[in-house]
């Protein structure tokens, strides 16, 4: 649980780097992330890039559907790091 929380915090921070106005407090972690935060494909790629750099977890294109929400993304990273 601790590990998951710290990963979640990290992901939130990285999201804020890309979308500084994002309201992370009120974000439903199970809602579709890109839709909620208005992240386009470029933003999403930048996010995955910074995640890869910070966690060494490289998310391939084929797994994009598995990381749709903040929770899914967090879980995915946790399981691979």
């Amino acid at each position: 649980m601790n590990k998951n929380q710290s990963i979640k915090d990290l992901v939130c921070k990285l999201i804020l780097d890309i979308a500084p106005e994002a309201d992370m407090q009120n974000l439903d972690p199970n809602e579709e992330l890109r839709e909620e935060l208005d992240l386009d494909s470029m933003d999403f790629m930048n996010l995955l890039d910074s995640i890869a750099k910070q966690t060494a977890v490289n998310i391939p294109e084929s797994d994009y559907s598995k990381v749709n929400s903040l929770q899914a993304l967090t879980d995915y990273i946790a399981s691979r790091s």
Partner: protein, 419 residues
């Protein structure tokens, strides 16, 4: 018109002196004629001319010492129609009013492929021939909208894009301080006394642009639904083992197809000004980047038709980052010859856009979506993207627009060729 330059008669020759001209302006010359005697370190050497034509002007005089490669004469080639299209050198020497009055940025701004006004060219891959250089310079010089330094400074300070303003009240339609002041008043909301913040100013600038566009440009609209599966499949294979920052987005593939297709369709890539259309000689693809806080910036990807997919993707990424952080360069803001509007994969099925004057076309890319589709007479599924084209009917017709869209489609069916 051909500019004759001091020839090199040896690798170590840097200068030559014109001892004697054998011709004068007006003389007809034939290929092989000796037109001058040149003194070099190696002695007196005869200079031949390699074309048939008429000597128009002698730029260097007898006795002048001239560096190798510098102009010494102008020759009107026989197989050219004689026109008033004088070379840049002659124009400058004669002090043509268009050349003299214009700010330095227009004299340095040679053909559109020269990246930026006033900046040195860094990575030009090919040299323009003298003829095309001269032709483009002449036209550029007469067509550059004019503005006084004071007006330009004020316009920049107010965030007004002066190139989109109607003609000013100065000589040759130059914009003056008063014109900018009037423009500012026109753009200002009536009754607003408060200081505008940048996003408001941007909104107003966009408003002015699109209003003028809809007023002045007779738009026609075409759309083509394109099957994207081949491109997507090729892309996923390409991206499979790559780090996120090396992956190519489908956007880049579509941009590349558009840029390359435009290469053969002059009437959709250039500028319409003062009742006259001038096709650009390279495709500087304007990428319409939306900003998080609202608003739009169009950043030009220079020579997009020449970039491979990897380079194009890098360029796009870099520009989007800089656009959102406010680090775009002036040349990127000014140079777009055509624009692409892309609402992204969570946008709408299609987008019909408004042309940014003085451009004459704009593409809209809808979101790729899976649809039922008939393939080989059978019902199947395909990922479809709708690409729309809005174009200026003063310059092109639906028939060529359709051919252009079809060409883009063709290119997208062979994505491996775009790399």
């Amino acid at each position: 018109m051909k500019t004759l330059t001091m020839p090199s008669f040896g690798a170590d020759m840097a200068m030559g002196s014109i001892v004697k001209w054998n011709v004068k302006p007006g003389d007809q010359v034939a290929k092989g004629d000796i037109i001058a005697s040149i003194e070099t370190m190696k002695g007196l050497i005869d200079m031949e001319v390699f074309d048939n034509g008429t000597i128009v002007a002698l730029i260097a005089d007898e006795g002048d010492e001239v560096e190798v490669g510098r102009p010494i004469a102008e020759l009107q080639l026989s197989n050219e129609e004689y026109s008033d299209n004088k070379s840049e050198e002659t124009l400058l020497r004669e002090g043509s009013p268009n050349v003299a009055v214009n700010s330095s940025s227009s004299i340095n701004k040679i053909p559109v492929s020269d990246a930026s006004a006033g900046q040195t060219v860094t990575n030009k891959t090919s040299l323009e021939t003298t003829d095309s250089l001269n032709k483009n310079v002449h036209v550029q010089i007469t067509q550059q909208p004019k503005i006084s330094p004071a007006a330009r400074t004020k316009a920049i300070r107010l965030g007004i894009d002066w190139r989109l303003l109607p003609k000013g009240t100065g000589p040759d339609g130059a914009l003056l301080l008063d014109d900018i002041n009037i423009a500012k008043k026109t753009l200002a909301k009536p009754g607003s006394g408060h200081v505008k913040d940048p996003s408001e100013a941007m909104r107003e600038a966009i408003a002015a642009t699109v209003s003028q566009s809809k007023r002045d440009i007779p738009h026609y609209y075409l759309q083509l639904d394109i099957v994207l599966d081949k491109a997507l499949k090729w892309l996923s294979i390409h991206n499979a083992d790559l780090d996120p920052n090396k992956r190519i987005l489908i956007t880049a593939v579509i941009f590349s197809a558009i840029a390359r297709a435009l290469n053969a369709f002059d009437a959709f890539n250039g500028f319409y000004r003062d009742g006259h259309y001038q096709p650009a000689d390279s495709v500087h693809l304007g990428n319409a980047i939306s900003l998080r806080q609202g608003g739009l910036m169009v950043a030009a990807i220079h020579d997009a038709q020449r970039l491979g997919l990897v380079d194009l993707m890098d360029k796009i990424t870099d520009q989007v980052t800089r656009a959102r952080k406010g680090g775009l360069r002036m040349s990127e803001m000014q140079d777009a010859t055509v624009t692409v509007s892309n609402l992204g994969d969570r946008g709408t099925d299609s987008i019909q856009s408004i042309i940014f004057p003085p451009q004459v076309a704009i593409f809209g890319i809808g979101r790729p979506r899976v649809m039922p589709w008939v393939i080989d007479n059978k019902l199947s599924c395909a990922t479809i993207v709708s690409i729309s084209l809005a174009a200026d009917h003063r310059v092109s017709d639906g028939h060529s627009g359709a051919r252009l869209l079809n060409k883009i489609n063709k290119l997208l069916q062979t994505p491996e060729k775009l790399i």
